[in-house]
Structure formats: structure tokens, C-alpha cells
Symmetry: C2
Amino acid sequence: MLKSIEDSPLYRIANPRSFAFFGASNNFMSMGSIMLSSLLGGGFEGPIYPVHPKEELVQGLKAYRSVKDLPVAPDLAVLVLPTDIVNRTLEECGRKGIRRAIVVSGGFKEVGDRGVDLEKEMVRVAQEYDIRLIGPNCLGVTNPHHKMNPTPFPYEGSPGFIGLVSQSGSFVTQMFDYLKHLGLGFSTAFSVGNQANIDLVDCLAYLGACPHTKVIALYVEGLKRGRAFVETARSIIPEKPIVALYVGGSESGRRAGFSHTGAMAGPDRLYDGIFRQSGVIRAASLIEMFDYCWVLGTQPLAKGGRVVIQTHSGGPGATAADACGRAGLEMPPLAPETAAKLSPYVPSTGSLNNPLDLTFNKNPMDFFGPIPKILLEDPNADMLLVYFLMPLMKMQAMMENFKMTPEKAKEVGVQMIDGGSQAFTDLLQTYRKPIVGYTWRNLDEEMPLALMSKGIPVFTGPERAAGALGALLRYPALRDKIVRSVQAEGAGAADAGSD
Amino acid sequence: MLKSIEDSPLYRIANPRSFAFFGASNNFMSMGSIMLSSLLGGGFEGPIYPVHPKEELVQGLKAYRSVKDLPVAPDLAVLVLPTDIVNRTLEECGRKGIRRAIVVSGGFKEVGDRGVDLEKEMVRVAQEYDIRLIGPNCLGVTNPHHKMNPTPFPYEGSPGFIGLVSQSGSFVTQMFDYLKHLGLGFSTAFSVGNQANIDLVDCLAYLGACPHTKVIALYVEGLKRGRAFVETARSIIPEKPIVALYVGGSESGRRAGFSHTGAMAGPDRLYDGIFRQSGVIRAASLIEMFDYCWVLGTQPLAKGGRVVIQTHSGGPGATAADACGRAGLEMPPLAPETAAKLSPYVPSTGSLNNPLDLTFNKNPMDFFGPIPKILLEDPNADMLLVYFLMPLMKMQAMMENFKMTPEKAKEVGVQMIDGGSQAFTDLLQTYRKPIVGYTWRNLDEEMPLALMSKGIPVFTGPERAAGALGALLRYPALRDKIVRSVQAEGAGAADAGSD
């Protein structure tokens, strides 16, 4: 593992102090223009030098006719140029002393034939001038902690804890909106494109050392350096979890991936083996990958697989129990002392089993404080899964019917939502056991928004919640196995050394 | 199969002309009050007679001290009463001449012991007075086509085409919001509770004959009458598809279901066999069940399993290809004439394969008209799966940058969204091949909302889309098998008759 991200060739790609920008103009329909406007809109604080053969000003910035004319050698060049002039421009960057680049342009290895030769030439130029570059055929890098986002989509969420390496640019940019919706964001995300000079493994190593990154997500169409991948991942796993989505394992996924980035895929079994050896958790979809990241970055790890389900409705309880069972989790009966403590809170229509089905409770706030507290104190409970029907919003409507003014009802409702979500966060801090929720309601409603903003994930449906809880169990198991095997190797080496 | 829903004991339960309502008051915290207020809020057009021992008026309606005092015998009684007075009240209803009831109250078989006896007594009373009732321990029935919703949650969407029978009341009421979000709604939904007198099979038969119901969804914790279920389902399948979620197959799901409604579950293998014999498609989650309903109610059936994927981004294309492969669908190469017709629309960075990866296209409207038209004309294409990145909203931002006023940009944007979504609907009508979309963006954005409102489902992630497309292939296969076996039985019977 890297000692520091500053030792990574990616450091000044993800944290540049200044940019040379090629391919942006005042034509707002061009990709280069959109990307520069995104970088400007994101509030990047250092100097940006657009290079343009004709314009004096590009999007309000002084433009330069040629890279030769730049007053300094910026840390990073971004190239969004027609394929044919990319290598020549890169060479000019090299002569100027620019040592890092993002090559967005496509038309290289992924189109075959002449593109393959052009890409070889790019690699040669990079070597000659000691340039490290990401791409070609990529959307570059987003580092919201550095206010750096030259991708074509604005990054509107907060900086986050998920590091992403992706063989798809879309899976960087399309996730901005998706993650923001869940109150999450990226620490840094890399679109690696054709990996001509810097590859997925380099990015993985960077994120392993990145202090903002709590969990790493990988979108993989095919690995180029299997052994380096395994070694790098194994060096990171003791510190932070890695989750991967691999699409090359099916015949149709393999073909699509090859035509996308020229990636050489292998069968599922091969990749399952690589991931197992690496301690990487494999996800079945992009949604699942980010579900795993969500819980791994917000929840304590699980000490065991025993889940207690808290619900006020039987069907959601039964589906959650079924989903937990299928996800390999256990549903222990409540300890006798737990049932005793709960009984004042549970109406006669309810069920003092696991799932704990309250049906309703007279004081709705009990659902958010005393009841989950008792469940978390149960020595048989390793994790808590809570069904959120959003009764608080219902309460608000009822309060209005109760002749409360809408303003007063709203005020009381907001207090209940703040109080209820805070109660769960406090329980998380006190008991250090994972707590996740599920619902089928819209996640844009006040209650799930409040919970998610306070670090309690709320999933659409119990299947996703159960899968995510499973990841909280799998990661420590994988990590401990790797730590033990590294220790054993170390001991072996020491023995060998003492001979 | 029922000739008409009017032959069903459920007809006047789902289409009552008048109500007797027990358990509602002016205390808005009580379940009965909430349910009456929901019925009133939904705009039910017939008379409602609240019965209350003390109040003169209940929620503005004239109240009656006793069922004896009612001026007429209403079609349907709704009982939301303490357990102990349910049977006595039911008996009074019977004496009055009321012949249909919804018993919401719990405390019967699901609590064991004395509850079991109380439920037996209820069945006896019902028999004595020829009452057919749904429940106890249920949330009743929602029939938005009849403006009838006595469940505790308001039904705010439009009447729809999905018929639901559920052993969970929550899965009726919680789905109001979920389905509305997708532009869908229920035709009629039944919460069957303990099934003391009317069971899931009766409801299934009703929905089979219901003219508003295009597809039937079942939430099953355990079947009471396996043979009747199979026969009823087989009589419906030639007309409309049935999708089921069964949670009793895992040990934890079985235990939770029993404690919820006293349902006797069996192992997955048994239920898989029942569903297969019945022609019912089994779903793995509630989300998946409604995904299947969504496509089965909006899309033509698939003639074959060959999917063409249209994308402007490689990663989403590759994940979709992988998902289709894993869902058992095929990804045929495009026919040579298709590739020839497409080539003017595809930039050099794009890929004329399947997935068709456009990367971008100069006229964004081509994505919505000419390009999918060419793909649907391909003789190798049975279905079309489209990645919606929502470039139109992006266009709007760009138009604003292009010095267009925000109002004008908005206007053009809305036109593009209307035009783009209408173009897909027109293609659906013309080619009669299934078209579904996927995205990872928020489904509340204009483009998915427009598409969904026009009958093009848009799924979060390609895995759900691929699964749903698979249902369009599985249903006709199941249907044809059942039709053939019924014909063979008929022929056998005729042969036997001629002996």
C-alpha cells in the first residue's frame, strides 16, 4: 500500500494546482466546452489556461494559441481534442514540462486498427516526456474535496467517502445524482478509459491511501494486471473495504465490454477467484455496489449475523425475515428479558417475536427511542433492521384533523422527524451495532431524508437492506482472513530469514 | 373462471352501494376514524351509516346507536371494533339483513388460543346469516374505479390495471404511493387477513373476471386451498397473467408469516411446483412483482427473447448486456441492413454493435425517433431496451448557456420531452414490440415521468429492466402450455365421452 497519496502518479491528476485545457471553446455544444464549464462551475480555485487556436477568451478566461505560449507549465493538461491531434498536442505538453494529463478523446484502441497504433504512439510519447496520463477514451477525474470536476456533468452533492474506479465514464457522472439523492458523494472518482498509461490498479492504490476514502467501489469490464490487482487490494483490505461490479463474466457482457474499452474479460469463475483472493466483495449490480458502500461507510461492522427486525406491520416484517434468511443472516428469538422490557410498549395485537411486530404504538416516538434501544441491548442482536412506514407524516395529517393549525402541525411534525431520526443516530453511537431501514415509500419524504442525512441508510425494499447487512458481515471476515494470511507469510519469511 | 364479477361473493364487498361503518368516531387517533375519513376523502358516492353508541354525528354523518336503527340494510358492513364485540355486532348485522362485511379487527386466529375459538364463532355466525366476509385482521378492500377506499391510507393515484390479493394490509396501502410514483395504480386490491370466510382464491377468481384488471399480483404467506388455487389460476392464465411473491419458503419467512396471519407455509420447492402448475410467475421481491405487472400491463408480449440495447454510453450498455445475458435473454447482432440504415446517425466514436452505443448524436431527437425505429424494424429484434441518460435536460442547460432565455429554453425543453416520449409511444403502437427504459437518475425528472405516463416503463438499473423483459417472454410460454394442456384434457374428455 502507498504510504501517502502524494507518492501516487495520480496525485497531481486528482489534486492539480493548475490546468491546461485543450478543446474548450465558446461553442457550448462541444464536449470540451461543457467540461470546462463544469470545472468552472464546480468552483476550482487554481488557474486554468485554455488553449485555443483562434479565440482570445474562452468562457471568460484568457486563451493561449499554443501550449508553448503558456506562462507556466500547469500541473495537469486536459485534452478533449479530435483524435488526430491528440498525440501531437501531448508531445507539446511534454516539451513545455507538463507531466500529468487526462485524455478524454476517443478513437484509440477501442476502435481497433489504426486506433491501436495511435494508442501505442501515445504511450511512447508519454514515456519519452515522463508524462503520466489517464485515458484515452475517458471522462477523467472528479475530486469534490479539491473542488475539481472537469467531467461533463455538474457535481452538486457534498464531498463524500466513496472512492470509485470505473471503466465507464457514465458510472462516474451518472452517479453524482444517484448518490446525492441518498445523501452520499464521492471522495474521488476515476474514469480510466483505455488505461493506456495509468490503470485501474494505480487508481485503486491511490484510493487505498486517500484519507477521504472510507470504502472503494470498482466497475470492472476486465482486468489488465491480475497479480498487481490482487496484491494491491490485499494491501488495502486491512484498512478499508473494496466492492466490485464485474460485467465481463457473461458472454454478452464480455462482448459489450470489449467493444466499449477493449477490455479483455474472463469467465465469472476466474474473477470470483481473483476477488476472493483479494478480499474484494463482488456486487451483482451498480445499485448493490453502492448499497454495500453505503453501509460500509456509515455503519459499524457486524459482530455476527443475527438480525432483529422492528416493524409495525406484518407483511413487511415477513418479507424482511424472508430476505434476511435468503441473505444468510440469522433471526434469533428475542431474549426473555428483552420481551419483558418490551411488553409495556407492545399492544395486544402485536407480536413479541422476531420480527417484532408492534402493529402500532400509542406514543409514536417510542418507535424511534425506547423500543430500538431495548432491541439493541438484546445480547442476541448483532444488527437492527427497521421498517419505516413513515407514521410521522401520517401523524401530522391527524394532528391537522385534530384541529391543530397546519403551521403548528407542521412544526410538531418537523420536531418529531428531527427527534426521531436523531434518536436512531444516538443509538448507533451508543451501541455500535448496525442500524438500517427499509421502506417502499418515496425516499424524498422528510423522514427517510432525515434518517439518511444522519447516517442511517434507508433502502427501497428489505432485500436490498438484507444484502447490505450481509456486506457488514462479509467484509470483516475477508479482512481477518487476509490479515492472518499476511501474518503467516510474514512469519514464514521471518523463519526463512533466521535460517 | 367466473363469467362475471357479479357472480362473486366479493362483488358487493368491492362494489358496495352503501356502508354500515362500525368503530369510527370523532376521535381522529382511532383506526376506525382514520378509515372512515379515508373512505370519505376518497369521494365514495353512496350513503354511509356510522354506528356509534353515543355520538349523534360521526365526521359530519348522522350516526346510529345500533345497527337495528339503520333505515336500510346497507350492502357492506365495515367492522373496526374491539375483538370482544366483533361477533356480536356481526350477528346484529346478520339479523338486519346485511350480507357482506369487512372485519378489520385483529385478535383472532393470529394470536392463538382464545382467538382461534373467536374466529370459529365468527365463521359460524357468518354461515348462520349467510354473510360473506373478508378478514378478520385485514385492511379491507380498495377499488379506485368505484371510489372506494376504506383503508387507513388515502389513495391518491389514478385507478389502474393491477389487481392485488395480499396477505398483508400494508402491501395494499403502502403500494398506493409506490405505484403512483410510477404512474400506475390498482384496479382493485384485497387485504385478506386471516381468510376466515373468503380467501385468496376467491379474490383471485374475482380479479380474473374484473374488467379493469389486466394483470394480477399476489402476496402469499401460505395457501390454504392448493388445489382450488391451481384450478382458479389455470382458468385465468389464458386471459391474463398472474405474478406472485411467496415469502414462506425460507425458515425465517415461514415463522414470520405464521405469527402474522397464522398462514401455513411450505418449502420453496412445493410452492414453485404449485406456481408452475398454475402458470403463475414467481417474483423474488415486491419490487420485482410490480415490475412484472408494469410491463405485462403496458407492453405487448414478446415474440422471442432477442433484445437490442440502445445506449449513448458504454458502461450502461455493458451492464445491460450482462444483465440481459444473466436473465436468459439473447443479444443478437444487428442485421446488416440495420447497420447500414443506422450509420448516418452514429458518430465515429460509436459502435454499430448490440448494444448500439451512439456515444452521442448530433440531433438529440434522433435518439427518440429515427434510431429506435430502425432498431425495431430489425427482424432480429424482439424487444428494445433503452438507456435514458436524460440528455434533454442537459440540452436545456446548454440552451441557456447558448444565450436562450430560461423561459424559452424551458419551453423548448418541454417540447423535446413531449416529442421524445411521444415518439417512443408511437413506435410501441406501430411495431408492437416491447420497449422499456433504464436509468440511474431520479425517476422524478421530467423525461422519465413523461415516458412512464405514456406507457414506457423506466427502471432503476438494467437488472430490473432485464428481469421485466423476461416476464414478457415467460407469460406467453406459460399461457400456451396451459391452453394446450386444457385442450388436451378437453379432447381426452371428449374421447372418453364418445366411448
